[in-house]
Amino acid sequence: MTAVIEIEGLRKEYRRRGRTGKVAVQGLDLSVPEGGVFGFLGPNGSGKTTTIRCLLGLVRASAGTMSVLGRRSPGDLRATMPSIGAIVETPALFPTMTGRENLELLGAMNGIGPLRVALSLESVGLAYRADDKVNKYSLGMRQRLGLAAALLKDPELLVLDEPVNGLDPAGIREIRQLLQRLGAEGRTVFLSSHLLAEVEQTCDSVAIIDDGRLVLSGRVDEVLAAASKPSVLVGLDDTDAGFLVLAQAGLNVERDGALLRIRIQPSDASHVTKLLADAGLYVNELRPDAVSLEDLFLSITGRDATEEVAA
């Protein structure tokens, strides 16, 4: 599969006068496949935004090479930028202009007309407030407007840094569906987010970085499968009795709150239910113990992704 974004040995050190420089990204290698939604995760200060800024030519890399849509970045960005839509952190737009005027102004740089502006506003559900000034918008509406600006170019590649910040649950769902649709259309969505459940639901592939280095990358289902230790979770009225029965049967069993975790393949769950039923214990809950992206993230980074929002 062709890579839409290719990063090799990216390093960024912010120099500070009279002090040691701060290394934000150190030797990052990353390959983002064409098409679909790619999640880019990492704890606060791990170098996600710096990587995105380097890719988009906003920040100069100290070392390494990058290519976007098959061309060098930042060297060839003038040629590729018309095919890239991007949001970097909170979208900053001109507050004294209306949402529509903002998009018309940006679109005018690329010869994009009012029809495309109207379609973009419609696609993010902002058409009804398009003629209000941006300084009257809520954070969620500004986020939608930023997304509309990113979509305005009808881009092949969308680079979105926390695009659902400030959106309510319904808004998050709408945007998730929009991103999935864009990915299904063959566009590539490069999504940086701290909402791990969202990323798990939205993304096809994922990369996790920590301390400016790539620590894990791959398709979400493959990454989770590789991280999972096969087990099932069982709910019983009498957990203590169930624990004894299963332990005496030689199964690897442990308590997990009100549930029991048994280390067996989920396909062998019938063996567990039979043992319990034979002992007069009836199961009220039975499910595979799947590893979530959040569990995986925490185990890799040792940090909670949501902390970065508060930080």
Partner: protein, 272 residues
């Protein structure tokens, strides 16, 4: 329209959308209106209307002698201040608001972006400056027609007035570009305004006082030579207007090059 033309147009629209720029224009128009009313009211008693009163049209611009009695020089002074403030606002506000990130996502070539920004500042300052001078002078017309005179306004005078207005507009444009450039270097409106004020009112005056021989190289002295298009009287040095203009253009080019190279190399690392 080519892509640079589109960028230039966008920069002009963006600048005109700045509330500060609009308020400055409104303020300038109000000042013009006030000048007109005062000129009219103060000229109703003919015995009190001296030869230097603005209702005598010839006082709009007096060629030669440094144009010192011209009311147009009053307008020039305000225009230069206005251009510095508006230019600094246009160049500096984007850094504070974080919109520089948004703009660079649409136009990644910083040289082109800065060139368009500087060019738009120059064009707008020239046009607005020219228009405001006309409004300023026109505001005295009721007084001229009802209480004053048009004596001495022959063809040469009109040409002299037109050229003076154009020169003032050119200086206004240069100051606007200077302010945009310094605000780009400092990433801040206030930094640009303070920098310009300190240079103009402290550094230049100090240099002129301590080293009179260097005064010929100062911005103030060169501007004061270009506007009337005549060498300064009693200045202690002889500086032809063409040399003064070339000096100002050279200084501006140096600042523009520094601003461009700073902008090109700078990390745009945070919104606000």
């Amino acid at each position: 329209m080519n892509s640079f033309g589109r960028l230039l147009r966008v920069e002009m629209r963006r600048a005109m959308h700045r509330r500060f720029v609009r308020w400055m224009i409104v303020l300038a128009l109000a000042f013009c209106a006030l000048t007109g009313v005062m000129a009219f009211l103060s000229s109703r008693d003919p015995s009190k209307v001296g030869s230097d009163h603005p209702v005598h049209m010839a006082t709009w611009w007096t060629s030669g002698g440094g144009g010192g009695d011209s009311i147009l020089l009053t307008a020039a002074l305000f225009l230069v201040f206005g251009a510095a403030m508006c230019g600094a606002s246009v160049g500096g506000a984007e850094w504070r608001a974080g919109t520089i990130t948004t703009v660079l996502i649409w136009e990644p070539s910083r040289v082109r972006l800065y060139a368009a920004r500087a060019a738009s500042a120059a064009i707008m300052a020239f046009l607005i400056g020219f228009a405001l001078q006309i409004v300023f002078l026109a505001s005295t017309l009721p007084g001229v027609f009802l209480n004053g005179s048009t004596t001495g306004t022959d063809g040469d005078w009109w040409i002299g007035l037109f050229l003076a207005t154009t020169r003032i507009s050119v200086i206004t444009a240069m100051i606007a570009v200077l302010a945009v450039s310094i605000a780009t270097i400092g990433r801040n409106t206030s930094a640009a305004l303070i920098g310009i004020a300190v240079w103009a009112f402290v550094a230049e005056r100090t240099i002129a006082g301590l080293k009179p021989g260097w005064a010929r190289f100062l911005i103030g002295e060169n501007v004061a030579t270009v506007v009337p298009w005549t060498a300064l009287e009693d200045a202690g040095f002889d500086r032809p207007p063409t040399v003064a203009l070339a000096t100002l253009l050279f200084y501006l080019a140096v600042i523009v090059v520094i601003a461009t190279s700073t902008f090109v190399r700078r990390d745009v690392a945070a919104t606000s």
